[in-house]
């Protein structure tokens, strides 16, 4: 099939696909921007761009990585246009941000804080793998890296999180 999202049926299919992926696109944008409002704007703008270009998609299976690419580009574009004030993670954690305040368990809260503190190079591949379900090949393609580099970043990201959890557990015991 050359253009699965062309025509009336394509419109319907694309609208449903966006509806289904939208929560995860928001979460992806949130972890890129670490800001709820920015994430909302990024997703809104990304879906608009995607809608306009939907007929260029040649395969249904390519839609998800394509949408993620649009979100990444839109996020970068937004940062080019505006210079956001850098907010220390402690301030974000201390604020009433629902991302941090509504955690089900203390461990989830700690881990969320640790993920927010990860360097972008580590956080982004982890989010793409664990949250978005991309393979390491797909992540490499998405980020323009070699697969070996992706594997290294994913390994180090988990190592850092593991250390944080162990340190947190030790503090609680002490």
């Amino acid at each position: 099939m050359n253009a699965p999202f062309a025509g009336k049926d394509g419109e319907t299919a694309f609208a449903r696909l966006c509806e289904e992926l939208r929560p995860d696109l928001f979460r992806f944008a949130f972890w890129l921007a670490r800001d709820r409002q920015v994430a909302e704007d990024v997703v809104q703008e990304s879906l608009l761009r995607a809608w306009r270009s939907r007929e260029s998609l040649a395969e249904t299976e390519a839609a998800k990585p394509w949408l993620l690419t649009i979100v990444r580009r839109e996020h970068a574009r937004l940062y080019e246009r505006k210079r956001f004030e850098t907010v220390p993670v402690d301030d974000l954690v201390g604020s009433e941000s629902p991302e941090l305040a509504v955690a089900e368990e203390q461990q989830t809260l700690d881990l969320r804080r640790a993920i927010l503190e990860l360097e972008d190079d580590y956080r982004e591949p982890l989010v793409l793998q664990v949250l978005m379900g991309l393979t390491t090949d797909e992540i490499a393609s998405q980020l323009g890296l070699t697969q070996a580099a992706v594997l290294t970043r994913l390994f180090r990201a988990r190592q850092k999180l593991r250390k944080r959890l162990v340190a947190g557990a030790n503090e609680e015991e002490g």
Binding site: K8, D9, E11, T12, F14, A15, R16, C18, E19, E20, L21, R22, P23, D24, L25, F26, R27, F30, W31, R36, E40, V43, Q44, L47, L48, W51, P98, E99, V102, A103, E104, E105, Q107, T108, L111, R112, I115, L126, V127, Q129, V130, L131, G133, T135, T136, V150, L151, T152, L154, F155, R158, Q159, L161, R162, L165
Partner: protein, 229 residues
């Protein structure tokens, strides 16, 4: 493969261990433990990454997912869907159901390590969390559950369990948000399965040719209690 290489790979992609890793793990209890711990860490990471979504981005809510798609156009889309359902009701049998079955089979490839023959039950705490997240209870009559994971499937988190049976390990996926009108059977080279209506959605049961799917499905259906809608 040595332990160092195993841990490097397990730390990078714990949900998709390669055949060489599984071979190494079979003879190395410490690396098996490391893999399980890392998979458990991933479950926590997924929970932490799943931040609350604002209502306008929650999906399947009111209004359009696509900005710029105004109400009139949304009605037109809805009308075209209704027309499609009326005209193409025969396609329902071959379309979405097969698509759901294909997605279930595709998901099986993500966690091949789950399908090992074992008498060891899954960790109680892990199983408890998976069932809780899935909003279900499982009666012990189901048998030995050797594997439990909260998996992403079609954009939602669903319980993925493996039950040990006389015919080998059988995968059970509890699909609260995937209703089917009637049982769907499917088979491919390696697996055969069925998706049956259950609770507010459906349950998929997949095994190899040796498993008595009908009997196991009946047992699973009797053992699952739905806690919430």
């Amino acid at each position: 493969m040595d332990c160092l290489e195993f841990r490097r790979l397990a730390g990078a992609d714990p949900q998709h261990p390669a055949a060489a890793m599984l071979e190494h793990a079979a003879g190395c209890p410490r690396c098996t433990g490391y893999l399980r711990q890392t998979q458990e860490l991933d479950r926590h990471i997924l929970a932490a990454l799943s931040v609350p979504v604002p209502p306008r981005h929650a999906g399947r809510a009111t209004g359009s997912a696509v900005p710029g798609l105004d109400r009139r156009r949304w009605y037109a889309l809805a009308a075209s869907i209704v027309a499609g359902v009326l005209v193409g009701s025969l396609l329902w049998v071959g379309g979405p159901r097969n698509s759901l079955a294909q997605d279930v089979l595709a998901h099986m490839d993500h966690e091949p390590e789950a399908l090992v023959v074992t008498t060891s039950p899954a960790d109680d705490a892990v199983l408890g969390r998976v069932l809780e997240r899935g909003g279900i209870r499982l009666r012990p009559e189901v048998g030995t559950v050797s594997y439990a994971n909260s998996c992403r499937f079609r954009g939602r988190t669903v319980p993925h369990l493996v039950v040990q049976t006389d015919g080998g390990p059988v995968t059970v996926m509890v699909l609260r948000n995937e209703p089917v009108d009637a049982p769907v059977r499917f088979a491919e080279e390696r697996f055969a399965g069925t998706i049956v209506p259950a609770g507010p959605g459906s349950i998929a049961v997949i095994g190899t040719g040796d498993a008595d799917l009908e009997q196991i499905t009946a047992r699973v259906l009797a053992a699952v209690d739905w806690e919430r809608d």
